[in-house]
């Protein structure tokens, strides 16, 4: 049976609602959003970035943690569609990075070297604030159709709302606290990746995959599992290959 796109979209919203209860963790929500974006919009890779108090865009979740892709997110603090999207609060849609006259020569070069041809950025907006961006990469040079643009923006809006899980909408302090907690959770994951990669002699992407698989199969938040690895209460060798 062919599953239509609207059925997949509906299923995504059901799964997302599931993550908003119990042991809610922003990083898990963002990881799920990134994965579903890739499936729904036929993108190659997706990532979600939040800006810290200094305005630095920091990766919170991505479909793949290969160093080349992580670098593509990080270098957008200098130039790139995410930075423009974050600064303007507007979508930045680029259907062909190969076309001349790009405003981001460095980003375009590194992205093409990594095999990507089109890139799209959607703002994480909360009323008059921009919190970060959803970034989609594709190996094919192609525009997103208008229905996908609207649906991708809806996914970005869910990411914004997810930060407010425990915060009243007007509460700037609760939002700041959630933002900090999400970024610290992400740091715990980076620390755990380092421990796992070194202990098991694998790359950062494989280290992350093992962490994620363990968290999912044990139905636990990614950041909780990462913390145990960092503190040494969970051995990297216990994360199955």
């Amino acid at each position: 049976m062919v599953v239509t796109r609207s059925e997949r979209l509906a299923q995504t919203f059901v799964d997302l609602a599931d993550t908003l209860v119990d042991e809610f963790d922003v990083v898990d929500l963002y990881a799920l959003l990134a994965e579903r974006c890739v499936e729904l919009f036929d993108a190659s890779q997706a990532g979600l970035l939040l800006a810290d108090a200094d305005g630095t865009l920091r990766l919170v979740a991505a479909t793949n943690e290969a160093i080349e892709l992580v670098e593509l997110f990080q270098l957008q603090n200098d130039e790139g569609p995410c930075l423009d999207c974050y600064r303007s609060g507007e979508q930045v849609l680029v259907d062909d990075l190969g076309r001349g006259g790009t405003p981001w020569p460095l980003f375009a070069r590194v992205a093409r070297e990594a095999g990507f041809r089109s890139v799209n950025a959607f703002p994480l907006r909360l009323r008059d604030r921009v919190l970060g961006a959803l970034n989609l990469f594709d190996v094919a040079p192609r525009p997103l159709d208008p229905a996908d643009v609207a649906a991708a923006q809806a996914m970005a809006d869910i990411a914004s709302i997810g930060l407010l899980q425990y915060a009243a909408l007007s509460d700037a302090q609760a939002l700041a606290g959630q933002l900090t907690a999400a970024l610290e959770s992400r740091i715990a994951i980076e620390q755990a990746k380092g421990v796992i990669a070194e202990r098991l002699g694998v790359g950062m992407d494989e280290a992350f995959d093992r962490l994620r698989r363990y968290a999912r199969s044990h139905r636990r938040p990614l950041s909780g599992v990462a913390e145990e690895v960092v503190l040494g209460t969970l051995a990297p060798s216990d994360l199955s290959a």
Partner: protein, 226 residues
């Protein structure tokens, strides 16, 4: 931008010890006082306080095992009690009475953490009830981030250079710094916290940006010696 401003303010205050750090926190945030406790398996332990009331607040939490600092640590997020004298039910009954008697009317605690490395809390108090302003709250979060790095250095006994120099050398966030900390912890058989300190010390000695050294560690281009 924001952290840079705080670092400049701390540098202007001329502090060099952890005690100065608490005074700097109180002054930069414009609150009545500030204190820091480190928290381990055995509970909280007062580290510094800007005045006698702040010292009493840290002491009470150490003695009673309850209070905002302990709660912020456990919750991994900020805790606010803007009116200690108000009707807030059973939250920290022993601490509440003692803190009021010591002259505090409102307390706010912020966890000191770098990812999974959680070392304690920064607690600030006000002598009149009321919430922190959004600016004070944002500054307190940034101060907690600054403080945790200074405390890690102090704990490792490797205080090279001045506070402002060390903090400025941290640079902007890079994922590799934290990946490298984890790798070094395995290589040298130390905690991830110490892995971070060793990475920073290496960058400082070589006069290189922290992010560059971290990228070298992750790519196996360099390996730190024991």
């Amino acid at each position: 931008m924001h952290r840079d401003r705080l670092i400049a303010m701390i540098a202007a205050l001329g502090g060099s010890s952890t005690r100065d750090l608490c005074r700097a926190c109180a002054e930069v945030l414009g609150v009545s006082g500030a204190g820091i406790s480190v928290i381990g398996a055995a509970g909280s332990e007062p580290l510094c306080a800007s005045d006698s009331t702040a010292a009493r607040i840290e002491e009470l939490q150490y003695t009673l095992g309850e209070g905002p600092c302990v709660e912020a640590h456990a919750r991994r997020g900020p805790v606010a009690e803007p009116d200690l004298g108000g009707d807030a039910g059973a939250r920290w009954p022993g601490f509440r009475a003692g803190a009021l008697a010591a002259g505090a009317a409102a307390v706010f605690a912020f966890p000191l953490r770098v990812g999974a490395v959680r070392i304690g809390s920064l607690t600030v108090y006000q002598d009149a009830p009321g919430p922190l302003t959004d600016d004070q709250h944002r500054d307190a979060l940034a101060m907690a981030e600054v403080a945790v790095h200074e405390l890690l250095v102090a704990q490792a006994g490797d205080a090279t250079g001045g506070t402002a120099d060390r903090l400025a050398a941290l640079g902007a966030y890079r994922a590799e710094v934290h990946q490298a900390s984890g790798m070094i912890s395995v290589q040298l058989d130390v905690s991830v916290a110490e892995g971070l300190v060793r990475l920073r010390a290496h960058a400082f000695r070589e006069g290189r940006p922290l992010a560059d050294v971290a990228a070298d560690v992750v790519a196996h281009r360099i390996r730190l010696e024991r």
